[in-house]
């Protein structure tokens, strides 16, 4: 498919002095307590594989897939090695050496095509709409499902009847005078699974002087393909989205999905070597803001309504470490009168979602999740806010498994409630 294989460069691993600092912060190491499941171990494997000391075997690739890409090792490394990035690059190398057909179908054919994604999730909407889901619960049929499928079922939020892409107007005018013209990036998971929350994001933005332009043809930001080693597909998707938003003529591009945000902000880096796209990609990335980040940077209307509730907040890895955004969502929540904010212990520790780890690394994902739900239980919160659809689905599962009485929401959704009151 590609003429030459691009490998991670020597600088990405050469200076790792194997100090072991990263072991302390790695969710997979802390569960398995084996070097093989640690960032230092992955860097050593990558190095030995690239230098020819080890075969680039399927098991070596598997160790790269075992990383949850929570970025904690990137952040702590005192030398500046980025083990999580290296693991992704190694997946990419594996794909270049041996292309898996199903990834082409899934990441090339299905995910980047909004219409097909909507069609694919249609059975879920029917499942919800016809009351089948209630029936399954009432009759206790869930128990008949295998464990893993039961857990995946438990993650499902309540699905909207119509996909948001169809329900949302192309242009949502600001309430009152337009102070900002912003583009809204419809994230696949956020707008499909949590459509009501994305609708709330648009309402909150228009309330605060933003005229929101929502291009309907956006394709997936590319993170799923990146996670499965298909950087080539990510670049294709990036070029498409960049061109699309250039036409929208906006000053800022807003997303309410942590993962989309971190990927969109990386387009500049991803296309840096492409002479036709480097400047356009850099310009695009410069405009990208998480919704909480944007709201905290403009004059913001304090909600008049009260929300009497105890609320805690989970940091999505790709928001806190991927984008350095962690103060803003907390600040927004604390503007709501009546709301009692409690800090979640280890708030920035991965929840175990990591995109699709619940499917591909079921046991590890659940172990990492348990740590999160134990911390959550200690807060006695009514709401757990988190601005990432992957985290939200995982956290919904955690709450159900633990039998907690906690509602998982996007922080903006709580703001929206406070505005409505």
């Amino acid at each position: 498919m590609q003429s030459e294989v691009s490998e991670p460069s020597e600088e990405q691993y050469l200076n790792c002095i194997r100090c072991g600092l990263c072991l302390a912060v790695c969710p997979t190491y802390r569960e398995y307590l084996t070097e093989t499941a640690s960032p230092r171990g992955r860097v050593a494997l990558a190095r030995k594989g690239l230098e020819g000391e080890l075969e680039l075997s399927p098991n070596l690739a598997e160790q790269m897939y075992a990383c949850f890409d929570c970025l904690a090792c990137n952040e702590i490394c005192p030398v500046g090695i980025r083990p999580a990035d290296l693991a992704l690059n190694m997946r990419d190398l594996q794909e270049q050496r041996q292309l898996s057909g199903w990834k082409q179908t899934l990441f090339g054919g299905l995910i980047p095509k909004p219409g097909r994604m909507e069609a694919a999730t249609w059975p879920l909407r029917i499942y919800e709409e016809l009351g089948l889901r209630r029936l399954v619960y009432v009759l206790g049929l869930r128990r008949l499902l295998p464990h893993q499928l039961r857990d995946i079922e438990a993650m499902l939020p309540h699905m909207p009847q119509r996909p948001l892409r169809q329900a949302l107007p192309e242009i949502s005018e600001a309430n009152g005078e337009t102070r900002y013209r912003v583009g809204f990036f419809l994230g696949c998971a956020q707008s499909l699974m949590f459509a009501e929350e994305s609708a709330a994001s648009v309402r909150v933005l228009t309330r605060n002087g933003c005229t929101v332009v929502t291009p309907k043809e956006t394709v997936c930001c590319g993170m799923p393909a990146l996670g499965y080693g298909r950087t080539d597909l990510v670049r294709e998707q990036a070029r498409f989205n960049i061109a699309l938003f250039e036409k929208a003529n906006v000053e800022t591009i807003v997303t309410d999905c942590a993962t989309c945000g971190s990927t969109l902000k990386d387009y500049g880096k991803l296309l840096a070597d492409d002479p036709n796209w480097a400047a356009r990609a850099a310009e695009f990335s410069k405009k990208v803001r998480d919704v909480s980040e944007l709201l905290m940077s403009i004059p913001f209307e304090k909600p008049q309504g009260r929300l009497e509730a105890r609320v805690t907040y989970h940091d999505p890895c790709h928001l806190r470490r991927g984008q350095g955004v962690w103060k803003q969502p907390r600040a927004l929540l604390q503007m709501i009168d009546g709301l009692e904010f409690v800090e979640l212990p280890e708030a920035d520790w991965c929840c175990g979602s990591a995109g699709s780890q619940l499917i591909t690394h079921y046991e590890t994902s659940l172990k990492v999740l348990e740590r999160k739900t134990e911390n959550l239980a200690s807060t006695k919160a009514d709401y757990l806010a988190s601005g990432c659809p992957g985290c939200q689905m995982q956290l919904i599962l955690g709450v159900r498994r633990q039998g907690l009485d906690v509602q998982v929401v996007h922080p903006i959704a709580l703001l929206d409630i406070a505005y409505k009151k």
Binding site: N15, I17, G20, L21, T36, L54, P78
Partner: protein
């Protein structure tokens, strides 16, 4: 993947094969006949620990061959026990089959003490990580060897107690490893080293028997002090599986000052002046300009980049007024000795970030060069200024940078040579420089290592440091406890 495919005892080179055979007192031919039993050994180990406690894929073996030095040699199998009983059975098997066994924790050692140069079993203690008891009346903690030191500290501090030893690797090293290398850290100046907190140990001996030594009594003079013997033995005398640790009351107040010196020499001279003034700070750390620059590049804390040295000084205690008085005395002394500025951390966050900076110093030096050799020579503290001056002279002579930092208050320095291992000519110079550093420490009445241990890196200098009689006594101890030489063979003793 292909778990059963890996062949145990596939030696990576004829040399290591020879060494291993010598260590076991067996011929090469016998090693080869043993290869036929490989699968049976893995099967037996699996019976002992369960399937998830034995790792043997090429990928697993490739990552259990290193610690935090640049040494690397793969083991033949990795075993992760969960109980002392499992360790006992694994050791009995190793003794029966004459398999070398190297114990390791999180692999953050700085002397290659846990690198399995002879292959064999890498016995990894990380899954024995339970805190068995915290006794608040007797102020003791009973823990398994694989407990992460910072986790223990957090657990006892919740109860108002304190476990002082604080190697920079507290978050990525285990109690077992700390004891096996008698780890130190900044706070040792006031509170002493790991060994000062070991009240009792459970040790699996080379033949698999389980020894319990010590107990909750502060005083105990019955028989030899075996726990002291195993402390610092680097896995050569037995496998430490549990420890009973002494705790003290947690100091309620602490103040940390960052003191800037335009001249390095002024900083190193000030250390002794402070200590002679009757103040015993909890820590008294020295960092030179390269060290400061590396931390700053890694953490962006706004450290001064135009001074030759800083001292990081902490006073702590249970009486706030006393702590403040100590800090004032320190400040005054520093000013009088030429400090440009004394900045006391305003709050806990600022204090924590200073210590985080100090802890990440050693690894952050790798920003300057692909390889580093950090030593931990220790001298009587009166010799600190001279040591610092002569280390700089060694650096000038060999034209390779030596970064100087360390626990100046207790005479323990970390001169770190920065180099590129890929350049063989540089590697030769590094060896000569290390030899000069050691000779310097010994000449000034000091020692080769204050807290890292000997491992293999300092083995060549043991004769010079200890003399023949001390070495002979130590070898007899080793022979008495490990007659087959299966426990971490090739470490500590010179060839």
């Amino acid at each position: 993947m292909c778990h059963c495919e890996a062949v145990l005892f596939r030696r990576s080179s004829p040399l290591s094969q020879g060494i291993a055979s010598l260590a076991e007192g067996r011929s090469l031919a016998m090693t080869q006949t043993r290869e036929k039993m490989d699968k049976s050994i893995i099967a037996q180990l699996t019976t002992i620990t369960g399937k998830d406690g034995v790792l043997s894929t090429p990928e697993d073996l490739a990552v259990y061959g290193y610690d935090a030095t640049f040494e690397d040699h793969r083991p033949d199998v990795v075993v992760l026990p969960r109980t002392s009983e499992q360790v006992s059975q694994a050791l009995a098997l190793a003794a029966r089959e004459r398999i070398p066994l190297v114990t390791r924790g999180m692999g953050s050692g700085l002397a290659a003490a846990s690198v399995p140069f002879n292959g064999g079993i890498a016995l990894t203690m990380t899954r024995m990580n339970r805190i068995l008891e915290i006794d608040t009346v007797n102020a003791t903690a009973h823990v398994e060897a694989g407990v992460v030191t910072a986790d223990l500290q957090a657990a006892v501090e919740k109860l108002g107690l304190f476990y002082p030893p604080d190697p920079s690797s507290i978050r990525h090293s285990t109690i077992g490893g700390n004891i096996a290398c008698n780890a130190g850290g900044p706070r040792c100046l006031k509170y002493g080293v790991t060994g000062d907190y070991v009240l009792g140990l459970t040790v699996v001996l080379a033949d698999g028997r389980i020894l319990h030594t010590g107990g909750k009594c502060i005083k105990d003079v019955v028989g030899y002090d075996l726990k002291a013997l195993f402390t610092g033995s680097e896995g050569t005398l037995g496998v430490i599986t549990e420890a009973l640790l002494r705790l003290i009351a947690k100091p309620k107040f602490a103040r940390t000052a960052l003191v800037e010196f335009v001249r390095l020499d002024d900083a190193s001279r000030t250390v002794n002046v402070i200590l002679q003034a009757g103040v015993v700070p909890a820590t008294l750390e020295l960092m030179d300009e390269t060290a400061i620059a590396c931390i700053e590049a890694a953490l962006h804390l706004g450290l001064p980049l135009d001074v030759e040295a800083i001292l990081l000084i902490e006073a702590d205690g249970s009486d706030e007024a006393a702590v403040l008085r100590e800090m004032e005395a320190v400040t005054e002394t520093c000013r009088a000795r030429g400090a440009r500025q004394v900045k006391v951390a305003e709050d806990e966050t600022e204090r924590a970030s200073l210590w985080r900076a100090r802890r990440s110093l050693s690894p952050s030096l790798a920003r300057k060069a692909p390889n580093k050799l950090g030593e931990d020579i220790t001298v009587p503290r009166s010799a600190i200024p001279e040591t610092v001056r002569r280390l700089k002279a060694i650096s000038t002579k060999y034209e390779l940078p030596i970064v100087i930092y360390g626990h100046a208050g207790d005479g323990n320095l970390h001169p770190t040579i920065l180099f590129d291992k890929r350049d063989p000519e540089q590697s030769v110079r590094v060896e000569q420089m290390a030899a000069e550093e050691f000779a310097l420490a010994l000449e000034l009445g000091g020692t080769l290592s204050g807290e890292h241990g000997v491992g293999t890196l300092k083995r060549p200098y043991m004769q010079q440091a200890l003399g023949p009689l001390s070495l002979e006594v130590q070898k007899r101890v080793k022979q008495a406890l490990d007659p087959l030489n299966i426990l971490n063979p090739g470490k500590v003793f010179p060839e």
